[in-house]
């Protein structure tokens, strides 16, 4: 039962930033029509891995799901930031304004964070397995 509460709490805590981000970007949503559906899919996948990870805690699978969750996050960042080059076309009085934002450095940092997260989960999984093996030997 505490796992259910923990999973529910983590799901709510995870969803809140996405909800506020959605509200924050609502004025410019018409320029990114794909954003909302993409965010919802991502939120569903991320929360799924989070909940499954909580339920599988105490096993090696929690780290597997941790890696999957971080990979989903990394793919989401790469996709939502369009590989680091965000382009936007705004029609204004018969003309169109093209906006190009190069966030490659920011994306590189986000990918680095995700890779560190994956590395951490892998090291934790190795540690977990070796501890388990040691316990068996004793």
């Amino acid at each position: 039962m505490p796992r259910v509460f923990k999973a529910a709490l983590l799901a709510v805590i995870t969803y809140l930033p996405l909800y506020f981000l959605s509200t924050f970007v609502s004025p410019i949503k018409p320029f990114f029509p794909w954003y909302e559906s993409l965010t919802n899919i991502f939120a569903a996948v991320f929360i799924f891995f989070l909940v499954v990870g909580v339920f599988s805690s105490g096993t090696v699978f929690q780290y597997v799901f941790g890696v999957a969750r971080t990979l989903a996050l990394m793919v989401f960042f790469i996709y939502v930031l369009n590989g680091g080059i965000i382009t936007l076309t705004v029609p204004v009085e018969g003309a169109s304004i093209n906006i190009v934002l190069d966030v490659t450095v920011v994306l590189a940092m986000l990918v680095l964070i995700c890779l560190l997260g994956i590395g951490k989960n892998v090291v934790q999984a190795i540690d977990f397995m070796s501890s388990k093996a040691e316990t068996k030997e004793i």
Partner: protein, 259 residues
């Protein structure tokens, strides 16, 4: 192994905090950058018509703006480059502001040779405006715009009517040249002088006159130029040469045959 996990955990947390703070302050800073254009001025300088557009940037954010590059390219309907201009501001520090002028210049020589067409025929210019700036030195940002601008010729449909002549005295003749054109330009009026010369069929100058012109934009000029010419040299056919000297361009001679 535990230390490695702990170190990776801390590194991740520190990077997350850094990136969240950077994202938040970047959005706040971007919202506090004010940029605008002033009233454009047109003036003449060293044989160039210069359109000067005041530009100001007020950076009240947390980060520097660097390498601001504003480029305006104008091409005509044939794709020929009419004008290109660039303004570069190396740095706009945080809390600072910059006032500069973006100058779009066009050579008068170009007007009188290659782009003579623009004085007599309406056309459409395709203007590409591009502005690049480096935000916080790590996020390059570019805004570009393409707009078509209709160009109204200041001497549209420049033509002369039937040239008439009669005897002024025993040695000279009075020649009347009806003249008309329309100033289609929405930007400037024609204010200056026009010299009219009559050349006979042997291309000899037989008479000339200079008169002042004042034709506001979007208005039609219709008048008659009277010249007293040497009766012995005047022929029933020949050429009328027009030369203009206005506040915006010097042009001539424009040759139109008569008779």
């Amino acid at each position: 192994m535990r230390y490695a996990v702990r170190a990776l955990g801390w590194a991740t947390k520190i990077l997350w905090i850094f990136i969240i703070v950077f994202a938040g302050t970047s959005v706040y800073s971007a919202m506090n950058v004010r940029m605008g254009f002033g009233e454009p001025q047109v003036f003449l300088s060293s044989g160039f018509v210069i359109l000067s557009i005041p530009l100001f940037v007020n950076n009240s954010g947390f980060y520097d703006l660097s390498e601001l590059n504003l480029t305006v390219d104008a091409v005509d309907y044939n794709g020929s480059l009419v004008s290109t201009s660039t303004t570069f501001v190396p740095l706009i520090p945080r809390g600072g502001s910059v006032e500069t002028e973006h100058n779009v210049s066009m050579s008068l020589d170009d007007i009188t040779s290659e782009a003579l067409n623009y004085l007599f025929n309406d056309t459409i210019f395709n203007v590409d405006l591009s502005m690049k700036v480096n935000f916080a030195r790590v996020v390059p940002f570019q805004v570009s715009m393409n707009k078509t601008i209709p160009w109204g010729a200041p001497l549209y449909n420049f033509s002369i009517g039937q040239v008439s002549y009669d005897y002024y005295n025993l040695t000279h003749q009075r020649v009347v040249v009806p003249l008309s054109f329309e100033n289609h330009s929405p930007y400037f009026g024609i204010d200056g002088t026009m010299q009219v010369e009559i050349h006979n069929s042997m291309d000899e100058l037989v008479g000339s006159r200079t008169l002042s012109l004042n034709v506001p934009s979007h208005s039609r000029y219709e008048g008659q130029v009277e010249l007293i010419v040497d009766g012995s040299k005047f022929t029933e056919s020949g050429e009328v040469h027009f030369s203009f000297e206005t506040s915006l361009f010097i042009l001539g001679p424009v040759v139109i045959p008569y008779g």
